[in-house]
Subunit: 586 residues, 2 copies
C-alpha cells in the first residue's frame, strides 16, 4: 500500500505515474471504507481524488497555498498531508474534522464550512504575498455549486483586478448539493462544457481570466499537465475542470443528490443505513404543513437557498411545481427575493439553516424589515443541539435577528404552536416573521392552538405561581417545566412557568406584574447568552427589586461537542438552575 506511506505532499511528488494511479485507487477505496461506515461528504470527495493528487504532485504545499471552497471536498487533501490514518484506521476516523482546519495541519490555511468564500480569501492571500514580496502560487478550488454565491463573483472580480499569480479552479461536476438551477451561471457553465470550453460568450474570459478547459477532469495525467502548464503564472488563470461527482462509485454517480453527503451506507449497494422509526418530527410536520398549505393557496411560494432537502425531497419539489424555487447557494437572493414576492401579493416562505441565515443580515434589515414586508422565514437547526461543527453552529440567531426592527421572531414549543404560528405568519400582511423551527423531540399538546399571534409579544403563563418565574423560550420550554417540577418537589416552591412565544419583544405587562409576588426571574434560551432574549429581560427589570438569572451558552465556537455536556458546562442543567434559584431566594 502506498497511501499509508504518504506522510506529506513531498512523498506524492516522488511517485511514478503508475504509483500515482495506484494511490488514486487506494484513496478511493479508503474513502469508500470510511464514508460508508462513518458518513460524510461523499460525492464531492470521490470526484476530487485525481485532482487532489495532481495538485499535490505539481504544487508545493504549504509554501504554495491551496484553498478549498467550503472544504467538504478536502478529504483526499487530508490523506496526502499527514492525515492518512484518519481515513485508514477506524480508531482514528474522528481525528480529523470534515473541513479544512489550521489546528490540524499547516496545509490547511483556513477553517471553512460555508460556501463561496475561497476566492475572497485567496485574493487576500495573494495580495499579502505581493505586499510582502513573497513568491508562491495561490490556488483556490471552487465547485460549480459554490459559484452561485455572490461572494464568489466578488472574489472573481477582485482577483482579476489584482492581476497577479492566482489560479482559480472551477471544479464543475454540474451539481450543487441538489441539482443546479437552470439559468445564469449554470447556463454559462453548461454552454462551456458542451463546447469543451470553446463557446462564445465566455463569462470567465469576459472578466479577464486566462481560461483553460479540461473535459477529462478525473484523468490524472491530463490534470498534472494542466497544472504544470499554469504553475508560477504571473496573472490570474481560471481552470474549468469537468469532473464526475461520486466518481467510480456507480450508485453515487447515478444519485448525486442523495450521495452529496450522508451515511453510513452499504458500500456495495449504496443503501443508506436506516435510522429511526418514521415517527413524525418537527421537520416532517413542517414539510407536511407546507405541502398542504401550498396546495390550498396558490400564492404560497416556498424558497430554498441551495438546501431543498431540509424540507422537500425531489418528488415533493416536483409536486410543488412553480410554488417551489431553489435559488442555489445564494442566501441574499433568497431573502431579498422574498421581499419582492411579499410586496406583490405572493406569500414567500424561505426555509434555511440558522448557520446559513447568517449571510443575510443586511437583506433582513434593509430589504425585508425596513420595508416591513410579510415574508416568512423558517429557521432550521437554531439550537445548541443542531449542527455541532464549529463552522456550522446555529445558535447565534437570536442576537442576529431579534434586534432588527419590525421583525417578529417566534419560538414555538409544540407541534400545535408551530403549525398555528406558520399559518398566521404566511397569511398575515403586517410583519416580517421568522419562526425558529423547534429542535428536539416532537412535543404535542393535543389541542389546536387558537392564539391570535397578531397580538404581538403576548406571553403565555402556563402555570401561575409565585417567588420564581421561569421563562422557557422555544426548545427550552420543557427545561422550564422540569426546573419548576424539581423546585416544587424538592423545595416546595410553586413557581410560575411562562412560554414567551415571541423572541423579538417582551410582555411588559406580565413582567411588571411579577414584581408583586415574585423575587426571581429565570430566562432559559437555547442559544448564546450575549445579545439574547434573556438579556432584554434583565435590562427591562434592571431597575426593579427582582433578581434575574439568564441561562444560555457563552459566545464561543465549540467544535464537535456533545450538546448535553456543552450545556452542562454552561450551567444549563436542571440541578444547577434549581440550586441557583434556591440560593437567590434565600
Amino acid at each position: 500500500m502506498i497511501l499509508n506511506q504518504i506522510n506529506s505532499p513531498q512523498d506524492v511528488k516522488s511517485l511514478s505515474k503508475e504509483e500515482l494511479v495506484q494511490l488514486a485507487a487506494e484513496a478511493q477505496q479508503a474513502l469508500l471504507e470510511k464514508t460508508s461506515h462513518h458518513g460524510g461528504h461523499n460525492g464531492p470527495n470521490f470526484g476530487m481524488v485525481e485532482m487532489t493528487i495532481a495538485l499535490h504532485y505539481v504544487f508545493n504545499s504549504p509554501v504554495d497555498k491551496l484553498i478549498f471552497d467550503v472544504s467538504h471536498q478536502s478529504y483526499i487533501h487530508k490523506m496526502l498531508t499527514g492525515r492518512a490514518q484518519a481515513f485508514l484506521d477506524p480508531v482514528h476516523y474522528d481525528d480529523v474534522s470534515g473541513y479544512t482546519n489550521p489546528k490540524e495541519s499547516e496545509h490547511d490555511l483556513f477553517t471553512i464550512g460555508h460556501t463561496s468564500t475561497s476566492l475572497a480569501l485567496a485574493s487576500g492571500v495573494s495580495k499579502a504575498r505581493d505586499v510582502k514580496g513573497d513568491q508562491y502560487n495561490v490556488v483556490a478550488v471552487i465547485g460549480d455549486g459554490s459559484l452561485s454565491g455572490g461572494m464568489a463573483y466578488e472574489g472573481l472580480n477582485q482577483i482579476a483586478t489584482e492581476n497577479t499569480n492566482l489560479i482559480v479552479i472551477v471544479n464543475d461536476n454540474d451539481q450543487s448539493i441538489a441539482k443546479n438551477p437552470a439559468g445564469g451561471i449554470y447556463t454559462a457553465l453548461r454552454t462551456l462544457r458542451q463546447s469543451k470550453g470553446t463557446a462564445e460568450d465566455n463569462i470567465f474570459k469576459a472578466l479577464g481570466y486566462d481560461y483553460h478547459y479540461l473535459d477529462e477532469g478525473n484523468d490524472l495525467e491530463q490534470l498534472i499537465k494542466l497544472f504544470q502548464d499554469v504553475k508560477d503564472t504571473d496573472h490570474p488563470v481560471l481552470l474549468h475542470i469537468h469532473t464526475q461527482k461520486g466518481k467510480g462509485i456507480p450508485f453515487m454517480e447515478e444519485n448525486r443528490e442523495a450521495f452529496h453527503a450522508g451515511g453510513p451506507y452499504d458500500p456495495k449497494t449504496g443503501a443508506y443505513q436506516s435510522f429511526g422509526n418514521n415517527e413524525p418530527t418537527y421537520s416532517s410536520v413542517t414539510t407536511d404543513y407546507l405541502m398542504e398549505k401550498a396546495q390550498k393557496d396558490a400564492d404560497v411560494v416556498t424558497i430554498s437557498s441551495g438546501t431543498p432537502m431540509f424540507a422537500f425531497d425531489q418528488q415533493q419539489r416536483e409536486a410543488l411545481g412553480s410554488q417551489f424555487v431553489d435559488v442555489g447557494i445564494a442566501e441574499e437572493e433568497a431573502a431579498t427575493m422574498s421581499a419582492g414576492l411579499a410586496k406583490n401579493g405572493a406569500k414567500p416562505v424561505w426555509f434555511v439553516a440558522s448557520t446559513f441565515m447568517q449571510r443575510t443580515y443586511d437583506q433582513w434589515s434593509h430589504d425585508i424589515a425596513l420595508n416591513n414586508l410579510p415574508a416568512t422565514v423558517l429557521v432550521y437547526m437554531a439550537s445548541v443541539s443542531g449542527m455541532n461543527d464549529e463552522s456550522h453552529l446555529g445558535f447565534f440567531d437570536i442576537p442576529f435577528l431579534a434586534h432588527i426592527p419590525n421583525v417578529v421572531y417566534l419560538a414555538p414549543t409544540s407541534k400545535e404552536e408551530h403549525l398555528a404560528m406558520m399559518d398566521w405568519a404566511i397569511d398575515q400582511k403586517d410583519h416580517p416573521v421568522a419562526i425558529r423551527v423547534p429542535v428536539g423531540p416532537l412535543r404535542e399538546t393535543g389541542a389546536v392552538d387558537h392564539t391570535d399571534y397578531s397580538i404581538l409579544n403576548k406571553n403565555q403563563v402556563t402555570q401561575k405561581g409565585s417567588q420564581v418565574a421561569l421563562f422557557g423560550l422555544g426548545n427550552f420550554y420543557s427545561l422550564a417545566e422540569e426546573v419548576a417540577k424539581k423546585l416544587a418537589d424538592d423545595h416546595g416552591i410553586q413557581g410560575t412557568i411562562v412560554n414567551p412565544k415571541f423572541i423579538t419583544g417582551l410582555d411588559t405587562e406580565l413582567l411588571d406584574s411579577l414584581t408583586d409576588d415574585h423575587q426571581v426571574v429565570v430566562t432559559l434560551e437555547d442559544g448564546i447568552l450575549e445579545g439574547g432574549y434573556g438579556q432584554m429581560v434583565a435590562s427591562y427589570l434592571g431597575n426593579t427589586d427582582l433578581k434575574v438569572q439568564n441561562y444560555g451558552v457563552k459566545k464561543a465556537y465549540p467544535d464537535r461537542y456533545n450538546p448535553q455536556d456543552y450545556l452542562a458546562q454552561n450551567g444549563i442543567t436542571v440541578d444547577n438552575i434549581v440550586n441557583q434559584v434556591v440560593q437567590s431566594l434565600k
Copy 2:
C-alpha cells in the same frame, strides 16, 4: 413650463417629442437648482434625466414596476410621479427623501438605499406576478457601480433562471462613487462599451440574457425606441446603456467623484460651499494616522469597499499605492479579503460605514472570527448622530458585532485613545479588532494613551465615587461626565465614572466590586438598547442587589430625524438620567 404640469406619468405620455426634450431641459435645470442649494446625489441623477423620461413615456407605472437600485438616481422619477414641487419650490425641497419610498408614492415600490438589491427584488416581483397570473413589465435599473456587489450577480442568475418578463437596465456611466476598480466586471463592461456591445465574451449573453447595447444613453429618442422594442418581452432582457454621469453640467462631467454626491455648491462654477474651519476631526485624525502608519509599515494594506472618500482623497490613494485597495461596492469581499491578508502576514485595515458593514455578518463570523485572524476594521458613523436616512442608520453595530466570538470591539473616547487603539489593533496578531471611530467633536486628553489593550475588557475608572456608577461607552463618555457633574452639583452625589473601552466583554472584576458601595449602575451607549452593551451589564448584575439602568435608543428605523430630539425621545438627556438615578437611589 411643462414640468410643473406633470402630475403623473400619464402626463408624460401625452407630450410631443419636442415637449419631451423641453421637459428634459426643465428637469435638468430643476435638478441643478435644487442640488446646488440643498445638496444630494448629483452625478447619478444628471445622467438619468433622459432615461427616466423615456421609461415613464414607454412603461406604465405603477402597473409596470420600476425598481431603482440604491435609488439615489431616482430624483427625476420623483419629479414625474407627482412630486415635481419638491424640486421646483424650495419650501417643498424636504418633502421627499433622497431615495425611493413607498410612503411617498405608489410609484416607489421599495425603500432602497443600499446597492445591488434591485435585481433580487425584481426577481421576487416578477415571480409574484407570474404566480398570481398578473401581466405587467418589471424593470430594474442598476448602475455599473452597483454591479460589483455579489447580490447583483445572484439576482442576475435568478432572473435568467425564471426566464420570464424582466428588463434589467445596466446604467453604465463608467463610475461608481469613486472610479471603478480595474478588472473583473469592469473589464467586461469596458470591453462591451468599446466594441459598442459587439465584443466576444459577453458576460450577459453568457448568463442567458437577450442583450442590447445603446451607446447614446442620453439620447431621448433612441431610449424611447429601445424601451418600446423590449416592452412586454416574454424573457429576460438586459439593456446595457452607456450614459454620462453629471450629464450636461461640465464641472460634474469632469469631476465625477466629487459630484457623485454633496452640496450645496455654486451652480455656475461647481465650487462646493465650504464648511468648518479645517480643525482636526476624528476623521482627519484617522486619515493622518493611517497615512503615516502605512508609510512606516509596508505590511499595512488599507481596504475600501467602494467608499474610499471616507478616509482618503484621490491624492492620498495614489500616495498609498499598492497599500490601498478598493474592492468596489463588495463589502463581503472586503471583509473576507482582510481574513486572507491577515492570515499571510499583511496588516489589513478595512474602513467602512456602520450601515454597510451590516452586509458582512457571516464574513465576520465564519471567515474572520472563527479563524481568529488579526484583521482591523474601522467602523465609521456608528452613532445615532451619524447618517439619519432610515436606509442608512448606523446604530445597529453593537448587537451586530459585539456577540460574535473572538472579536474585540473597541470604543475610543478621545483622540489619544483612538490612536492608541488603532496602533495596537494593527500590530497585534491575536484578535480580530474593530474600532468604533468616534462621532462628535474631537476630544483630546493631551496625554498619550499607554494602555495595554492586549489585556482585554479592562475598563478605566476615571472617577472613583460611590452610590452610582456611570458607564459611558465611546461617544457617550462625555454624557457620563455631564450626568456625574449634575449629580454632584445638584444632588451632592459623587458617582463613579467608567470608560469601558471594550464593547465585546465586561470588566467583571470591576462590576463585582461595585456591589460594595454602589446601588445603581447606569450604562450609556450611542446605539440601540436591544442586544447592546448595557444589556450585557444588566444580565451580569441581574442576580445582585444593584439596580441597572440602560440607556440607548429603542430599535426602530427613524427617518431624517434630529439626533438631539431623537435621543431626548428615548430618554437620553442629562436631566432625565439624573432624575432616574436620584429616583432609584431613594
